[in-house]
């Protein structure tokens, strides 16, 4: 276990020795603030118009600000996470440092676990900045805290799947660019599967495809619902891709 943390610690720190962490966090915060500003202005305009018409019923911040804002996050993560995880194995292959890991008294599982924790660490650090929006908003508006908390739970789970996919893609190649593309394609596959579900004729097919869709479960979390089947889905997907990475590492010995 300590060896896993040693690996995780090194990889996590190396995000900060380069500029990677700062650039990623900076871009992320800029984009998210801009998007938040847009949904907020849209919301404020609507609210203003309603009031101008003499209607004093107010829109819910949860429904009209946070829900769209947090589903926008998903789109950004789709690109940001492969970019953050692409080098985790590819770079070690390219620089031959994987030789060090592979000839140290470590199992392939420990190596993958270390990488997973490092990847999740940097991603969670960056999405932690999202807490600013509800905190700042809470100074001048009223909204329900529950859905915000479940959204963060959903984000945590969702990102663990993206990180696992990113690690798997990175384990396949020594090119970070290829790792990025492969991760992106796999993620897209699990997005598109949801759209395919929607256009399915049979109810059975719809349920299966909806279940496999990465986006569908997350939408529930943003609405304040803790969907156990969603939790199980995310955890098993993350586990599955970590398992695949472990197999890839093991098989490298036999080439």
């Amino acid at each position: 276990m300590t060896k896993i943390l040693y690996i995780a610690n090194r990889d996590f720190k190396s995000y900060f020795t380069g500029l990677v962490a700062y650039v990623a966090a900076g871009l992320f915060m800029m984009l998210m603030s801009w998007m938040f500003f847009n949904v907020f202005v849209y919301f404020a305009n609507n609210q203003y118009q309603m009031m101008a018409q003499g209607n004093h019923q107010s829109f819910s911040l949860n429904e009209y600000v946070f829900a769209p804002h947090f589903s926008n996050v998903n789109v950004i993560l789709l690109i940001m996470i492969p970019a953050l995880t692409m080098r985790l194995f590819a770079e070690e292959r390219k620089n031959r440092t994987l030789d060090l890991l592979m000839t140290s008294p470590l199992t392939a599982g420990q190596i993958v676990a270390g990488k997973f924790i490092a990847g999740l660490g940097i991603v969670w650090t960056i999405i932690g900045t999202l807490a600013l929006y509800p905190i700042v908003t809470s100074f001048f508006g009223h909204f329900d805290k529950g859905p915000i908390l479940t959204t963060f739970l959903g984000l945590g789970l969702l990102t663990s799947v993206y990180v696992a996919i990113g690690i798997f893609a990175s384990s396949l190649t020594e090119s970070a660019i290829i790792a990025f593309i492969v991760a992106f394609v796999i993620e897209m596959f699990f997005w598109v599967i949801g759209w395919a579900g929607a256009s399915m004729e049979s109810a059975m097919g719809q349920t299966v495809f909806n279940y496999l869709s990465i986006v569908g479960h997350y939408a529930d979390f943003t609405k304040g619902i803790i969907d156990t089947s969603g939790v199980i889905y995310y955890v098993s997907m993350a586990f599955f891709f970590c398992f695949l990475s472990q197999r890839v590492l093991e098989s490298a010995r036999w080439r």
Partner: protein, 314 residues
């Protein structure tokens, strides 16, 4: 300490190594000598558990590399052909990290790092970024990472490549110092490298062991005598006659019928006299050829000039 039996590795259809058998005793330094593509790196990758062999087995301190990889890896320090360095880390942090993943108990990590820094003479660069080091220093960091957990066995793949003459001598002295406590296998295609450091030499060529001896033994075989394969039609008292020829050191029956292996002083006169005498003896010479050629060929392909020596004469 190291037991290798019937080790074979195929890359697709290429036979990188074929049926290797050798063992290394505790505290011994052996040199793994061979021309490019001989299979040195392949053998080392298998010994360290980095790669699985096609067949055969490797045992380190009694543990089989494939049944018990963790136990084996704890006991091995490995310097691959390309040192496995993280250019974004400081030398000292890197060595600490290696000590950690090698499973050194936390109380021994700092002393281990300090010892490796001292042995590889890295004191002046320990706070530098690895990416900014010169090639020679990077190589030394590579040696240090192999030593940091004080392993029983050190596998060093061309440890002095890219170093300047002074550094080459330093690293060789370091390796010599390590013998006794550590069992060392080092590979090289520089002949003087093994003569300077190793107690025993294994010469590998095209994936097979061509010779295994001390350097003295090998050079004796190489320089003082030469062996010939002789095949004749009528034996008679051939053996006795040949023994009388000047320069002949010995004769014994060869593998095929009517054939002999004759050991002879290594000079062209003896060569000529032997050939002449055999023809004149009327035994009916069928075949006459040198059988040490393979070893000589290998030596010819090796690098015989040494950077360390060049440095000394500069």
């Amino acid at each position: 300490m190291i037991e290798i039996s019937n080790l074979t590795k195929r890359y697709g259809s290429i036979n990188a190594i074929h049926n290797l058998n050798f063992s290394v005793k505790k505290g011994e330094i052996i040199g793994f000598l061979g021309p490019n593509g001989a299979g040195k790196t392949t053998t080392m990758k298998i010994i360290t558990g980095f790669m699985a062999p096609t067949s055969g087995s490797v045992k380190i301190a009694g543990f089989d590399v494939f049944e018990n990889p963790i136990e084996v890896k704890k006991r091995i320090g490995y310097l691959p052909e390309t040192p496995p360095l993280y250019s974004d880390m400081l030398v000292k942090d890197y060595l600490r990290y290696v000590a950690q993943i090698k499973g050194l108990p936390s109380s021994q990590i700092e002393p281990g790092v300090a010892r490796a820094i001292e042995k590889a003479n890295l004191g002046q660069v320990q706070k530098r970024l690895i990416g900014n080091l010169s090639k020679g220093f990077r190589q030394r960091v590579g040696v240090a990472q192999a030593l940091v957990h004080n392993p029983d066995v050190l596998i060093l793949d061309e440890p002095t490549v890219g170093l300047d003459p002074k550094q080459v001598i330093e690293i060789r002295n370091l390796i010599k110092e390590l013998s006794g406590d550590h069992t060392v296998v080092l590979s090289t295609h520089v002949l003087p490298e093994v003569t300077a450091t190793c107690q025993r030499i294994i010469i590998i060529n095209k994936g097979e062991i061509a010779a295994e001896d001390t350097f003295e033994g090998l050079s004796k075989r190489m320089t003082s005598t030469r062996r010939f394969y002789v095949k004749i039609r009528r034996t008679g008292d051939f053996e006795a006659q040949v023994k009388k020829i000047v320069g002949v050191k010995g004769i014994r029956p060869g593998t095929a019928g009517n054939s002999y292996e004759v050991e002879l002083d290594k000079n062209d006169d003896s060569n000529e006299m032997l050939a002449e005498a055999i023809v004149k003896s009327g035994a009916g010479l069928m075949e006459f050829r040198s059988i040490d050629v393979s070893l000589e060929d290998i030596f010819l392909k090796l690098t015989t000039t040494d950077v360390a020596q060049q440095g000394a004469t500069l």
